[in-house]
Subunit: 143 residues, 2 copies
DNA sequence: TTGTAATATGAGCATATGTTCATATTAAAA
DNA sequence: TTTTAATATGAACATATGCTCATATTACAA
């Protein structure tokens, strides 16, 4: 983790920047550094079994990332907004297939759309997705 | 990211320790801090579309995390080794169902088993799984 | 060896999933 | 208004998935 103006960054083990978040204040960061002064003294932060609701939400998110078409859509949107026909080109599937998957991703609130003329322009809903994508790619690249 | 004796730690936005890795040397860490001196100046580390192989591996990993039984199994093992009958109790499904899912997780190399008498004792294969689990739970808890 | 506990696995079944096809909708152009 | 481009969506279909049931295997005990 590295901080700069209140931003938290996730890095992979080979120091690639995975994602950033601005949800923590500088004070919290300071607190963090005190609490985790020696990370090796504590077990990995695995607590009790999450609630059914959290388990459901988590598996829903992982499901959304578990298909190659959706994965490509999300990876593409990670670089910036794209319309459906662009995603269709990038992912190499039919317009219908992309639209159906985009609907699924919208229902999960992983992507959001806005109209620009005839086009529907999609973007990632938040940085969480980005973080998971990057961690996933990073780990998939190592094995 | 925080370093201690060559260990890299992942933290969530509210400063929970998500996971650690020891795969980077202190020199690499130092290099990292130079390269990423101002994280906000660079876009999130989203590069080109990964290769088909990496996409396949990544979606395989996400698939494994996308089922509640497997998710519970992995979360349980995150706390330490467990045998099949213990996992059966924790997950609340049949012995056969647990065994089938464990086989799937073994095939993905997400868990590994060893024999202890009549028992088969399972553990997580590596810290990557742990990291994804924690990031997933963390994000699922926020929404 | 026989019996029992723990685990693994093949077959079958019900459901979920991802795609295609046809068609509807939306927005701009002619 | 009519036409065309872009997108959305319902239905259908093939495949994948997760479970159960029955049974096999493994390890230990009697």
């Amino acid at each position: 983790m590295k901080t700069s103006k209140g931003t938290i960054s996730y890095f992979s083990s080979d120091n690639q920047l995975l994602c950033q978040t601005d949800q923590a204040s500088a004070e919290e960061l300071l607190l963090c550094q005190i609490e985790h002064a020696d990370p090796e003294q504590e077990a990995c932060s695995v607590g009790a079994m999450p609630s059914d609701e959290v388990i459901y939400k988590a598996t829903q998110i992982f499901s959304a990332l578990a298909d190659s078409t959706r994965f490509k859509i999300l990876m593409s949107l990670a670089a910036g907004e794209l319309c459906v026909c662009e995603l269709q080109e990038i992912c190499g599937v039919s317009q219908s297939a992309v639209s159906h998957q985009l609907r699924l991703l919208r229902d999960c609130d992983l992507v959001r759309a806005r109209r620009v003329g005839q086009r529907a322009v999609y973007r990632l809903a938040d940085s969480h997705v980005l973080c998971l994508l990057n961690v996933g790619v990073q780990h998939a690249s190592e094995a």
